[in-house]
Symmetry: C2
């Protein structure tokens, strides 16, 4: 949520000469996207976002993300559309960083989504999953089981400084989940980071989805588990089954879930909680004090993980 | 240049119910203004900025700043216009901070303004000074001579950690300038912080002026000295007399300068450089490492101060 790299209007005007999108009217750094630097800009012909890819995004993966946004927007998903310049190029170098111009999406993210928003989110996620089935590129999920083990090893016993005993708990969870993890469920392109920050609403319905820089190929139902964790708990960490039920109903109204996907949900939700517990714990020790980004509390996801570990059947989620 | 206070769309929608400006369409934190938190928002009826006043702005001074923007915009200055709600109120409480909704100004700030931009800046500043003459409120400049002494005392010998000998140099400069400072020059409302960040351009002409939160009553020519320091030096610290000449010509084309204002310019420029050297040195030691704002280099203004101290006559500035 920061402007890591400075871009001057002079640099932007040089870039805009390559495009056929009109004359610059306004230009401001915005607090959107955790990993990249984003600018709002408007011309006499429309509104756009300029994204500079900071080092956490691998340059060789940009064609996947750029291609995915174009593909999804052509297939019924409202998401930013990469804008090609006069020569057809999308990626450019600006201020020493790879950068792309994308369309501006109306709408705004909600901090406290209600059940009706969760229903609309479910519909939008299913639409995304169906649209993703025909996307020809693929990207391995670096934050699945093998990635978890790497993260857990790099954190080691440091984790105990966050919560006493967390180091051993993480190692044990990975071992347990490795034994339980489902494999033969429907897979495809998932968003993998669909937190409320990344979903825009207008009139209480999803108006757009942003920030595809964790998108990858994995189990579709794992994406649902990530969303349930991010959307269906209250700020006091209580699970809200009404929101979960609305979310799964919305999703199923567009892509009906198979019985085996529903049956796997407790394990998937536990894994999804572990994934964010691991990255947040890792970032807790690796975010410099001087960083322009606030660290996120790992404890929130430790509580979610412990909740799912006690869930005996998907009925706890409203199925 | 940071979002210090978080505002949710839910909170904003509650606030907007008090206004007659349409339905929210987009809402983003923006990197604009050093002292306050700013959000860009658009409704189906227009674009706006929501400013939250952080603690460096004194609440009892807000009526001066708000009133000044309204007055200037009614008198030919293009600046943000505070928007009144249905009951006529401008100041509101949001997220525990005083806040105001202001109109969005098209245009963008330049990092490397050319001489033609400096000419346009001069015209705009003179228009602002003339419009300010009829503004009924006033505000003492807390960062003039007496404020400098306070700052210098609070910095003390710490300054030597920035530049060896700076502590004694600052004390001496204040003493010298106290003896030389002009008093009987035309005075009125000045912007007092008209750096390139705070001036928007469209088609190479000033399209608007923002960030009036240092505005105060002082010598009009002191405002010119602040601008000359901020606009007419190159990044290698060299003074650009072509830009200065263009700036003063632009200003004089709207409000002709008196001979005694021109004669005082070397002393005023030296004082204007000292003012920013003092605040930057102070902030150097008082900005926490964890702050979301980058500290500005005091050395830049030390070099400017030393330049002006050697200027024998205003002809050095192109007069």
């Amino acid at each position: 949520m920061a402007v890591y790299t400075d871009v001057t209007a002079e640099e932007l005007n040089v870039l805009l000469e390559r495009y056929d999108i009109g004359v610059l009217r306004a230009f401001k750094g915005i607090a959107e996207g955790v990993e990249n630097t984003n600018f709002y800009l408007s011309t006499d012909r429309g509104q756009f976002i300029l994204t500079l890819y900071e080092k956490r995004v691998r340059t060789d993966e940009l064609p996947f993300f750029i291609g995915l946004m174009s593909h999804l927007s052509e297939n019924g998903v409202i998401c930013p559309i990469p804008v090609a310049d006069k020569s057809g190029s999308i990626l450019h170098d600006i201020a020493g960083k790879p950068a792309a111009l994308i369309t501006f999406l109306p709408g705004y993210s909600l901090r406290k989504p209600a059940a009706a928003h969760c229903f609309s989110l479910g519909c939008a996620l299913a639409t995304l999953h169906i649209a993703g089935q025909s996307f020809p590129l693929s990207r391995v999920n670096g934050l699945s089981l093998s990635g978890w083990t790497e993260l857990q090893k790099s954190i080691g016993s440091q984790a105990d400084a966050v919560i006493p005993g967390l180091g051993a708990y993480l190692a044990n969870e990975i071992e347990v989940l490795s034994g339980l993890w489902p494999e033969k469920l429907p897979a495809g392109v998932i968003h993998a980071d669909l937190f409320p920050d990344n979903v825009f609403f207008l009139n209480d319905a999803v108006s757009g989805i942003i920030d595809f820089y964790f998108a990858c190929n994995d189990l579709l139902s794992y994406d649902l588990a990530i969303c349930m964790n991010a959307w269906c708990f209250e700020t006091d960490h209580a699970f809200n089954v009404t929101k979960a039920r609305a979310f799964f109903r919305g999703y199923s109204s567009v892509r009906p879930l198979r019985p085996e996907e529903i049956a796997a949900m407790p394990v998937l939700a536990r894994g999804a909680a572990l994934r964010f517990l691991l990255t947040r714990t890792h970032d807790w020790f690796n975010t410099p004090e001087t960083a322009l980004v606030r660290r996120k509390d790992p404890v929130e996801y430790w509580r979610k993980l412990r909740f799912h570990a006690t869930v005996a059947s998907p009925s706890a989620y409203g199925f």
